[in-house]
Every structure is written in C-alpha cells, then in structure tokens.
C-alpha cells in the first residue's frame, strides 16, 4: 500500500483486494461481539479534517477509527481557526505539530488532499475532494457488490447521473476497472465531462437500453439546481429520462442490485419504492462503509494483517 489514499489509482488490484479482504475479516471478527472494538490502533491519532459538511462520511470515519481504538479528533471548518481564514497549509502544519498519524480530509476543492499530503508526514486519506475523487466510497461500493454478488470480475455496473460533478463516479470508474468490473456511464451529455472518452468505461445516453444488461445500477445524486445552469431543462424531465422508478427497476436482471452513495433525492434520481426495495443496498452501503474505512486505516497505520 502507498502511504496515502488520495485516489482510486493509488490502489492496484492486489492492494484493493487486500482492503476488501481485510474489511471482510474485520466484519467477521466483530460479528456477534458485544464490544465492537479492536485494539489495533491504540495510541494512534486520527484527525478528521472536514472543510465541507458531511455528517455521514465524518461519522463513518469517526466510528471506524474509534472501533480500532485510535484517538480521534474532529476538526471541522466551522467553529475552528479555518473560519478565521487560516490557510490549508497552516492547518496542515498545526496538525503535523500535534502528531497526527492520519488525516482524513474532506474538501470542496479538487486536489486539496494532494496538497495536504505534501505538507504532513502522516497518512492522508481523501474523504472526498471537490469533483475529483472519493476513494473510500468506491471501496465500500466494491465491497458491497462483492458481498451481494460474490464477485467483481466481469460484473457489469451502470453508473447513472451527474458524472460531471461526481467524485463518487470518478473513484468508482477507476476502482471497478482495476477490479475487473465493466462500467457503463449513463447520463445526459451535459452531465458527462468532455474527455470522458478516455475513461475505462462505456458511455450511454439511454438508461432504458442499459438496464437489462447490468448486474448493478448505481444512482448518483443529482442536484435539482443544476437545471438553473441548463444542464437539463427541469427536474421532471431529468427524472423521466434518467430516474430509476419501479417500472425501470423491472427491466433489470433478476439478481441485479440498486446502489446509491447517499444522500438521496427521493423522487428525483430514485423513486422511494426503489430505494426501499429488496434490491436496494443503500443501508448496507452505510454499514459496509465503516468496516471498509476500518480496513483502510488499519492498513495505512497498522501494517499488514499477517
């Protein structure tokens, strides 16, 4: 493993598989235990540095670190010196001086974790940077797919929605490709980046044509405000053409699953009855997020499980 986890490309196939296997071992070790805690990272300090509101990701990392017995410091942009205008570099030097072993960073600017990695000695884990990447989301998604379908090699995955602005999509395309899955991106052309042709993924504008041919459909959050910048004419038209409702879900193969990284816009990209259906892995993804992040912190800070 590299020292930092900044993007999906930091993981080769062996590394990624090791993370997933470690997450599975952790799940096994903790299942049925009353005290869901391992002593692995006792005495180590993990800083959650969150420049963007993200309750679910922050809590997931916090829980992951605490279950490994690490000391956890939550450093959020609100109510800290950040709001008084301290630069990212000064914050980094401060965390460095406090002896952080790992910094988990969420930032609205693409590349901020890369910058941070140049200024601190500890490991940097990207918890989502701008419209760039969110590698632990991709890991938990891969872990969820593997648990449900038993494999990743050759699994056909459709990623549907606002690919242009999605760090989840970027990380998933990279990681799923590394792990041997076949990805198809589905979106209106306005929500696909110029240059998407060089990604290791197929591209389609037609959700109905893709659904019968996939094992996984991953819906991305689409902000209704995008229509104000003419990415699509209206929320209703978007929903009609690219939303996943019960009728469309019926076109999926029998054992196909429906994923969503959350938070959902019920009624926009996903209908409520789809989100709550048996195919949906949405709640599972949240639970798997904790074990996957435990695996990442463990491997970055604790060494290999052998």
């Amino acid at each position: 493993m590299k020292r930092h986890l900044l993007e999906a490309a930091d993981l080769d196939r062996d590394d990624a598989t090791l993370v997933l296997d470690t997450a599975a071992q952790i799940d096994q070790a903790l299942s049925g235990r009353e005290v869901k805690k391992l002593p692995t990272l006792r005495g180590r300090t993990v800083v959650n540095l969150f420049y963007e509101d993200s309750t679910r990701t922050r809590i997931s990392f916090e829980l992951a670190a605490k279950r490994l017995s690490a000391d956890v410091i939550n450093f959020s942009a609100k109510g800290s010196s950040v709001s008084k205008g301290e630069s990212l570099k000064d914050t980094a030097l401060t965390l460095e001086a406090m002896g952080a072993d790992a910094v988990v960073v969420r930032h609205s600017s693409s590349g901020a974790p890369h910058r941070l990695a140049g200024w601190v000695r500890g490991s940097v884990v990207n918890a989502g940077d701008g419209t760039h990447e969110h590698p632990t989301q991709a890991l938990l998604d891969a872990y969820t797919i593997r648990r449900r379908l038993g494999r990743l090699e050759g699994v056909r995955v459709a990623i549907v929605g606002d690919v242009l602005h999605s760090r989840v999509a970027r990380s998933n395309v990279g990681l799923l490709h590394t792990l041997g899955a076949e990805v198809t991106l589905v979106a209106p052309p306005t929500l696909l980046p110029v240059g998407v042709g060089s990604w290791p993924a197929e591209v389609s504008y037609d959700l109905d044509a893709v659904l019968p041919k996939v094992d996984v459909v991953m819906m991305l959050r689409v902000q209704a405000e995008r229509m104000n910048a003419s990415f699509f004419p209206s929320a209703r038209e978007y929903s009609r053409r690219y939303g996943l409702d019960a009728r469309r879900m019926g076109a999926l193969p029998d054992d196909a699953i429906v994923m969503h990284p959350g938070p959902m816009n019920r009624g926009m990209e996903i209908a409520a009855d789809v989100a709550d259906s048996a195919r949906s892995t949405i709640v599972e993804q949240v639970a798997n997020g904790v074990s996957t992040r435990m695996a990442v912190l463990y491997l970055l800070l604790g060494g290999s499980p052998q």
């Binding site: 630069s87 590349g111 760039h132 990604w199």
Partner: protein, 429 residues
C-alpha cells in the same frame, strides 16, 4: 556617461564584430575597434540582440507591492534582457486614468532599468461597462498606445467595437484577453481528458477562439488594429492565420509558458502551474510554436504575473492564476524555437523586439543593430545552461513554473540607451 566597447559579439548570430556604445547610441560596429577610456566587455561567443520588448507584464504597483514593484519587476526585466516592458492595467487602483498611468510611468523612470510603458484599461475599473478616458491616457506623459482589460475580456461586442474604433484617433491598439466569460465560469484548467479526470472545472479552447473570431471580424469591419494577448490554442492560431490572409490588422502574442508547458503540469495540483489562459495540450504547444515560427503569432509576451506566496501555496481552486516569466522568457524561446531550428536569431529579434515594439509604437526600441541607433541591446550566451532557482530571481515573487528546470541561455549584459543595466549577469543597480 561610460562608453562600452563590446568585443567579439555576434549580432543576430552573424560574424563576430566589435560594437562601440557611446552617448546612448551605437557609435560604431566593425572589426578590431578601439576606444580610449571605454569599458571593454568581452563578448566572445555571445549573441547580440536588440533589447527585448515585452507587451505583457504585470508589475503589481500600485496595490500589491508585496508581490512586485515597478523597481523589482524592472530589475527582473533587465536581467531577462528586456529594455522595455508594457505594464498591465490591472493594478489597484486600476490604470484607467491619466493619473495612474503617469504614476506607473514615473516609477519606471525613477527605477531606470527598463522603459516601463503603461497599458491603459479599456473600461473603467476593468468592469467591461464603460470606456475609460482612453484619450487622456494617450495624451498623458505616459503616451499610452496599448489598451487592455487583461485579466478580463472585453466581452460586450458593442463595447469592444467602440473601443477598437475609438483608439484609431491616436494610433492605439486594443489588446484583448480573449475569454468568453460565460464559457469559463469557475474554470480552473484546460478542458479535456485531464480536467475530466482531475475534477477541475474546464476552460474550453472554444471560449478563447470564439472571442478571437468575433474580434478579428470587428477589427476588419471598423478598420482598426487588434492585438490578441496570450494566444493558447491551435484553433486560435488558425483563426489568426485566416484573418491575416484577409488583411485584418491583427497581431498576437504567445507566452513562454504556453510554448513549453502543457496541462500535464496540473496533475500535481500545484497551483504554480495555474494560469489564465490555462496550459493546453501537446498539440496546442506544437501549433503555437509553428505559429510563432511562421509569423502568424507576432510576438512573445511574457504575461509575467508575480504572486505572493500565500496566493499560491493553497488549494488549486483558491490560488490566483499566473506565473513569473521575465527572467526565463528568452531561455524558453531558445529551448523551444532556436535549438530545434524553428527560429534563427534574427527571428528571435523580430518576435521579441522588433514586432512588439512596432505593436506598442515604441520609437526607440526594436531598432536594427547599426551605427546611430539607440544602444538598446542584450548579450546572451546561448551555450550556458543552468537550473532555475526561484530564490535567486530578482522578482519579489517566487512563483516560477521553471523551478529546478535546466534552461539554456544566460543573459550576460543588457544596455538601455547605452547604460548597462546588467553586466556579467548581474543587475547594475
């Protein structure tokens, strides 16, 4: 005034000769010249060029003296072989009145290292709404001839048309920062495969090309001069070539960094490589070199843009765009144009001195190296190579994209009207 006898220099790369500089002029050129009392400059192996002229420099004074001053920028310019620089108008306050341009001009005179030629803003406060008092700036002591809202595009087509027309009255030129603002909202880097992957909002080539296409048509329609700043795309070069073939009075510049660097630099997320217009692709770099070689692009303009450390040591999106250029401009041109055989030394003189001086209507610059001409000249050692050390630069800022890079061409001496501003590679003041 000290007289200089320059021994064995090669004017425009020609045969070695001696050049006698006296009373601000080139007094004589010939073999084995001698002059009693003259300071001898050993120029064996050095190329002599007319003093370089930059159409595009940000000196930051008034307003951001922590990043650069007229004096520090002038010193950087002299060390880069320049004898005249056009100081862009996006200062604080903006150079949109006769008062501000005269202030900048006087500061340049006091520094005395290069001729600092102020550029006047096209619109009040660079806001793109109303014309600034262009005539007053033209008539001022600063004798402004180049007008630009650089940093901002004069996006309103009617306003651009009027600006182009109006400056004809005093032989002025509008230097356009070609960027359709509606196509570059939040843009961070060249829009393409890399921006898609890096998650940085793209700056499409079409945003530059659309404005250039519009403006050459406007310039043709009203019979005015147009200059295009920092051309960065292959498509722009094509449009310029087409416009020139129609006889449109359009000129254009390319920056050293767009001749050398590509959007691959953004992979590091190090904002020292963030610039506007952004670094483009290999194909664009090739088209820019070809355009400069065949004269479609008239000039090299540095777009020297000093920034304080805190404005660059940040996240990419938070950083200000721009990079230093004055001290390495000639080096980059040697590396990208001379060494590959795409431009000879006469060509370098043409693109870095003669044509930019003509565009800016500067009388005493860009002149031939001949007896009687003003002694604005630079001596460069083309064989010397050295790594760029940002800490050693004369600029007050350190945001050089060439840090650690080995580049050719050492500026040995620069003369401004017969006064040495640089000798032995060091500024004389």
């Amino acid at each position: 005034m000290t007289h200089y006898l320059i021994k064995g220099a090669r004017p425009l790369g020609g045969d070695a000769v001696d050049v006698l500089v006296a009373d601000g002029r080139i007094a004589a050129i010939g073999d084995q010249l001698s002059a009693t009392g003259a300071e001898v400059v050993d120029a064996a192996g050095l190329i002599a060029l007319p003093g370089l002229v930059d159409l595009h420099t940000h000196l930051r004074e008034p307003g951001r003296e922590d990043a650069e001053t007229v004096e520090t920028g002038s010193r950087a310019a002299a060390l880069g072989g320049f004898t005249a620089v056009h100081a862009m108008a996006n200062t604080d306050p903006v150079a949109d009145t006769a008062g501000v341009v005269e202030q900048v001009w006087r500061l340049g005179q006091e520094a005395g290292l290069v001729d600092v030629v102020p550029v006047g803003a096209v619109t009040i406060g660079l806001k793109g709404e109303r014309l600034a008092e262009l005539g007053a700036m033209a008539d001022s002591a600063a004798r402004v001839r180049v007008f630009s809202d650089d940093g901002h595009c004069v996006a309103d087509p009617a306003l651009m048309r009027r600006a182009l027309e109006y400056v004809k009255a005093f032989d002025g030129v509008v230097a356009q920062h070609a960027e359709e603002p509606r196509l570059t909202v939040g843009a961070q880097m060249h829009e393409g495969e890399r921006s898609a992957r890096l998650g940085l909002t793209g700056w499409p080539a079409a945003a530059e090309e659309a404005i250039i296409a519009r403006d050459v048509l406007l310039a043709e329609h009203v019979g005015a001069r147009l200059h295009v700043c920092h051309v960065s795309t292959a498509g722009s070069v094509e449009i310029l070539r087409w416009a020139k073939s129609r006889g449109v009075q359009v000129t254009a510049e390319v920056t050293p960094h767009h001749l050398l660097l590509t959007d691959a630099c953004a992979e590091s997320y190090d904002p020292v490589f963030k610039v506007n217009p952004p670094l483009r692709t290999d194909a664009d770099v090739e088209a820019l070199r070809a355009g400069l070689a065949d004269g479609t692009i008239d000039a090299v303009g540095t777009d020297h843009a000093p920034h304080a450390v805190e404005d660059k040591e940040s996240e990419w999106a938070q950083a200000r765009p721009g990079m230093l250029g004055l001290e390495q401009a000639l080096a980059v041109v040697i590396e990208t144009m001379v060494e590959p055989g795409r431009l000879d030394w006469a060509g370098v003189a043409d693109r870095m001195s003669v044509r930019p001086a003509a565009i800016g209507r500067l009388d005493g610059h860009g002149r031939p190296l001949a007896p009687g001409e003003p002694a604005n000249l630079v001596l460069v050692d083309p064989a010397a190579r050295a790594a760029v050390d940002p800490a050693a630069l004369a600029s007050r800022s350190r945001n050089s994209p060439y840090a650690g890079r080995e580049v050719p061409g050492r500026i040995v001496a620069t003369f401004l009207r017969g006064t040495a501003t640089v000798l032995d590679g060091k500024a004389t003041r």
